[in-house]
Amino acid sequence: MTPRRLQQIHPPAAGPEDSATVPERPTDRPEIEVTASGDGRFEGRVRLDDGRAISFLVHRDGQQVHVWIGGQSYVFSPAAPTVRVRGQRQGASDDIICPVPGVVIAVHVSQDDAVEAGQDLVIIESMKTEQIVKSPRKGTVQRVSVQEGDRVDRGMRLVVLHPLTEAPGGGGSC
């Protein structure tokens, strides 16, 4: 097994903890047969532990490696610095990140508003569909980074909540 330098960024790993950890395989390396190659891309077959040989396609795009295998698509990128990883962890995050590209059509909160878990924060129209961005937890709004009419991309910061330890009046248990 090759030492891991990449982290799976999509799809999200199902396990509750560390998404980057892949169980050790009993064999060292899978048997890989390359059938075609092109600009930054290889195609071939890989033999799985259960003996099946299935097709794959791997494509590098900048800092991302895309792998299609047996109907499933994966995206990997170099493991992010610890700080970023911590910021991305669900549940305790302070940054509310835009899930889709599109246009902001409504902002339901302003600075210093108290919000409940599940409360609507921002509505984004993307591909003709409204996407409602909800608060992942109870807290207080530190900053709203977008306004109505803004064009936004996936991964952009929409709203920042006060960190839990600093939340004013945050005596509740979270």
Binding site: M1, T2, P3, R4, R5, L6, H10, P11, P12, A13, A14, G15, T21, V22, P23, R25, R29, E31, I32, E33, V34, T35, A36, S37, G38, D39, R41, F42, V46, L48, I54, S55, F56, L57, V58, H59, R60, D61, V65, H66, W68, I69, G70, G71, Q72, S73, V75, F76, P99, V100, P101, A106, E125, S126, M127, K128, T129, E130, Q131, I132
Partner: protein
């Protein structure tokens, strides 16, 4: 017959319509927005004209621009596809005033059917059962209690001008009603320029079954059997099939007659679809609405009846009579359609944009792909997220499912997240395989959309990515199309690698 037709749409449906027009020997013109300058529909047409702009409003929804282009290129008719202006009576009327034939029903019929309240009254007159619903609600209206009292909860908020699930919300509790009305009204206003919505009783465990109809200008009307469309997310269809596993011969007969009665009562001419809800528990059915356009899912009907629905649209619009009779409609086998959406099945089907780094559709016996994209294309957030429709035909349902599964598993797509992994799981799900499913299929089965564990494919993918990344980093040799070992760059020196 027309000498030249302009297609006022984009994506797979524009390609689909252009293909039929070309097969009929009709000259074709396409229109395109800035992001679509290199799109397949623009390349396929004999002539293609820039609409200038990116948003739908300044391009495919700009009626004046479209009519001016149609006139200046010498088109005699306009095919609107579905979505955009397909069910816009004003566009149809303006086409007629400009001397252009609009390939679709008359503006009067569209106005009637586009108003869901009037359409329901019309169905009642035709003797077709309907789902109880409220009068219209407009933004600022303060009567939600009055409107909901006769309907009860849970209920649906629906757009009066609706279609395709836009402006639709399910409301379980009274306290969520105002917000749902406002949100649905806003979405409806954005999609249809009409923010009016109404309430409708929600029937749990319902199946969505629709009947295709064809009618000519003389009123000859037949139906082309049903399509089962119960696999939905956000009230939008994802998987369709015909025949429906929910109908027996008796129910099919009665619903088919109701569909024809509805179309005749609406004075319908051209291809249209009558949508019904079927209560899976009681076997009762209710008229929902009639869609005055070609449907996204029309290919499953075409594959079991071996006919070209777009060709019939064009022939009827040019004044030809419908030469098919109801007795000519004899289906063969079973057809399934999977809509390939650019969206994340593991994140509540959130839309996903990006560049299609790889797009390798499968092909073979009994397979059909209606696609509007090509490899390398940028998928923007401006338009709908549907990339293509994969259709599989088989002599029976089981064979069609098998063929579809094989095709989905051998359809490499990277760069843009798609719902293909979900579709593969759906094809294998016991509820789908048994045919006993309803519109709650996706929410009732969270295993369809839960992220995959790291075992199996994920582990192999991680290994492949790692090898590719690490050897690519240390080896500057550029990979070539020739896959000899010494030309392999990133893969050079793999311990167990086997090269052809």
């Amino acid at each position: 017959m027309f000498a030249k037709v302009m297609v006022a749409n984009r994506g797979e449906i524009a390609v689909r319509v252009l293909q039929t027009l070309q097969a009929m020997g009709i000259a074709t013109a396409a229109v395109y927005s800035d992001p679509d300058a290199k799109a397949p529909h623009a390349a396929l047409a004999d002539e293609a004209y820039a609409l200038g702009g990116s948003s739908a409003e300044e391009t495919y929804l700009d009626r004046q621009k479209l009519i001016e282009l149609a006139l200046s290129c010498g088109a005699e008719a306009v095919h609107p596809g579905y979505g955009f202006l397909a069910e816009n009576p004003a566009f149809s009327r303006e086409c007629a005033e400009a001397g252009l034939v609009f390939i679709g029903p008359s503006p009067e019929t569209m106005e009637l059917l586009g108003d869901k309240i009037r359409a329901k009254a019309m169905a009642v007159q035709a003797g077709v059962p309907i789902v109880p619903s409220s009068p219209l609600w407009s933004p600022g209206d303060s009567r939600p209690d009055e409107l909901s009292s006769e309907i009860g909860f849970p209920l649906l908020v629906k757009a009066a001008a609706g279609g395709g699930g836009r402006g639709m919300r399910i409301v379980e509790r009274r306290q969520d009603l105002e917000q749902a009305l406002e949100s649905a009204g806003r979405e409806a206003a954005s999609c249809f320029s009409d923010g009016r919505v109404f309430l409708e009783r929600y029937i749990p465990a319902a199946r969505h079954v629709e009947f295709q109809v064809l009618a000519d200008s003389a009123g000859n009307t037949i139906h082309l059997l049903e399509r089962e469309c119960s696999v939905q997310r956000r009230y939008q269809k994802v998987i369709e099939e015909t025949p429906s596993p929910a109908l027996d011969a008796g129910l099919r007969e009665v619903m088919g007659r109701s569909a024809v009665a509805t179309a005749k009562s609406a004075g319908y001419a051209n291809a249209g679809t009558v949508e019904f809800l079927v209560d899976a528990q009681t076997g009762e059915f209710y008229f929902l609405e009639m869609n005055a356009r070609i449907q996204v899912e029309h290919p499953v009907t075409e594959e079991t009846l071996k006919l070209d629905m777009v060709e019939w649209q064009v022939r009827i619009a040019s004044g030809e009579p419908l030469t098919l009779s109801q007795d000519d409609i004899r289906p063969t086998g079973h057809a399934l359609e999977c809509r390939i959406y650019a969206e994340d099945p593991y994140a509540d089907f959130a839309p996903a944009a990006g560049r299609l780094l790889a797009w390798r559709p499968p092909s073979g016996m009994g397979l059909r792909l209606d696609s509007g994209v090509t490899e390398g294309m940028e998928i923007s957030a401006y338009y709908d997220s549907m990339l293509a429709k994969l259709v599989a035909w088989g002599p029976n349902r089981q064979a069609a499912i098998g063929r579809m599964t094989g095709a989905l598993e051998s359809f490499p797509v990277v760069g843009v997240t798609t719902n293909i992994p979900f579709l593969i799981r759906a094809m294998a799900h016991p509820a789908f395989v048994s045919g006993d499913y309803n519109t709650g299929f996706i929410p009732q089965h969270p295993e369809l959309t839960s992220a995959p564990g790291p075992a199996g494919l994920g582990a192999a993918a991680a290994e492949i990515a790692e090898l590719f990344w690490q050897s690519n980093g240390s080896n500057t040799a550029r990979p070539t199309a020739d896959a000899r070992p010494d030309a392999l760059g990133p893969w050079h020196g793999l311990s167990k690698a086997v090269y052809p």
